[in-house]
Symmetry: C2
Subunit: 251 residues, 2 copies
């Protein structure tokens, strides 16, 4: 038996998210079906993060075991062949130690939230950004974001369906920058609560529009109550950018 680590890109539109669901095609199901069609083996594909329906990934990580080993390149190209026509692509495959677990071994997760800040609706980036018509004040958003960085109880930004044992997380970075007509929010942490990035993005949008002052973010955080936070930003603007592992796992 061999364990493999996969890096996967997908367009979340039209998918029900990472995890298997009865109501549509998930990334996990598409990958497991592709592996089964390739080698006849029914194997579980374990992802590093459970992205929601509509959320995109530039580099999701996952692991799986094969009873009859093949080279990583054969696995990568065969799985991509059988994934068609789903908008899911395996970027790379490598052999991993048996101790490697895509979710449990991860030491960091990076997410990007993209807002298109202009009056005209997106044509080329439709389904890939959240359109915000009125001008966003980047400096105010940065000031608001600073209150969220660090070790906090993030109950205000936690979805009621969140299964994490504790609402306490360490947010390593929350960067706001303008990229052409877009505003990008990049969030880095060991792990996140359910909807945490989208809830932080929806809150920072209120700050950007001037409806909240930056210091209102601190007050919302301190309330430890979801009702004190801003709305949940839509899934289509969110990208899982990277899963980080200790260097030794990569060997």
């Amino acid at each position: 038996m061999s364990r493999y680590k996969l890096i996967i890109e997908y367009d979340g539109g039209g998918l029900v998210g990472w995890q298997r669901q009865a109501n549509g095609l998930s990334v996990q199901e598409a990958l497991e079906n592709a592996v089964a069609r390739f080698c006849g083996q029914n194997t579980a594909v374990h992802g590093a993060g459970r992205t929601d329906a509509g959320v995109h990934a530039l580099a999701q990580a996952a692991h799986l075991d094969l009873i009859r080993p093949v080279t990583p390149e054969v696995l990568r190209s065969a799985v991509n062949h059988y994934l068609r026509p789903a908008a899911i692509s395996v970027l790379s495959v490598e052999i991993a130690p048996d101790s490697f677990d895509a979710r449990l071994s991860a030491t960091g997760r990076v997410y990007l939230y993209r807002m298109l800040n202009r009056r005209a609706p997106p044509a080329l980036e439709r389904g890939r950004v959240w359109q915000v018509v009125r001008p966003l004040n980047i400096e105010a958003m940065r000031d608001g974001a600073r209150y969220l960085i660090g070790h906090h109880d993030f109950s205000t930004f936690r979805d009621s369906l969140c299964q994490a044992k504790s609402p306490i997380k360490t947010l390593e970075a929350l960067e706001v920058r303008r990229v052409g007509e877009e505003v990008h929010i990049e969030a880095r942490a060991r792990s996140f609560l359910h909807h945490q990035v989208r809830n932080m993005a929806g809150t920072l949008k209120l700050v950007g529009l001037g409806r909240w002052r930056p210091e209102d973010v601190a007050r919302a955080l301190a309330a430890r109550d979801r009702r004190a936070g801003g709305p949940t930003a839509p899934a289509e603007g969110l990208y899982l950018v990277e899963i980080r592992y200790p260097a030794r796992i990569e060997e």
Copy 2:
């Protein structure tokens, strides 16, 4: 009567190109229908360039006349409203002098060709790039591109359906650069022959793969024969980036 200049973004996938066709929705038809639904007037929308089916635009230019003038912002937002759900968006509208003609007044056109140079198929950029699996040699492509810059008979890169009176054009620039996993070719000229950019891109790809030497591009150009050129690169990688006008038109 008032003349308006429009800047338009569109996703060419699912559209039959700029010009009205019997076999599907064109950008021109979508815009003319949207104007008619907004103000009841049947007016022609004249584009600066006739992009082919599948070709995208970041900033196509066009003009139209309205019998009963409205403010540019009202026209922009009303047309965008009635364009839904087509993947076409009017980015800006301004009042133009009666002498302005989107096609005839243009002094320059900028196109971008995007190749995704990696083994894994595109998931997020599907339909937006041409995937080239084997590694492209950028330096060789640059060397080949240099032979095409300047005033030449471009018959080798001209589609048989091209309606231009002369195959002689001045190619102002043809830049090749690597952007992450992509190779971008940017072409600038006053005007182009039909399929010229896609035929140049398909030829430079052969150079990038090492199947042609850079100097073979010079030989192909000198042959003044379409059969001497490389294949036509697919429409989905091509973007109309900008239409340039003299400064006075913008006033």
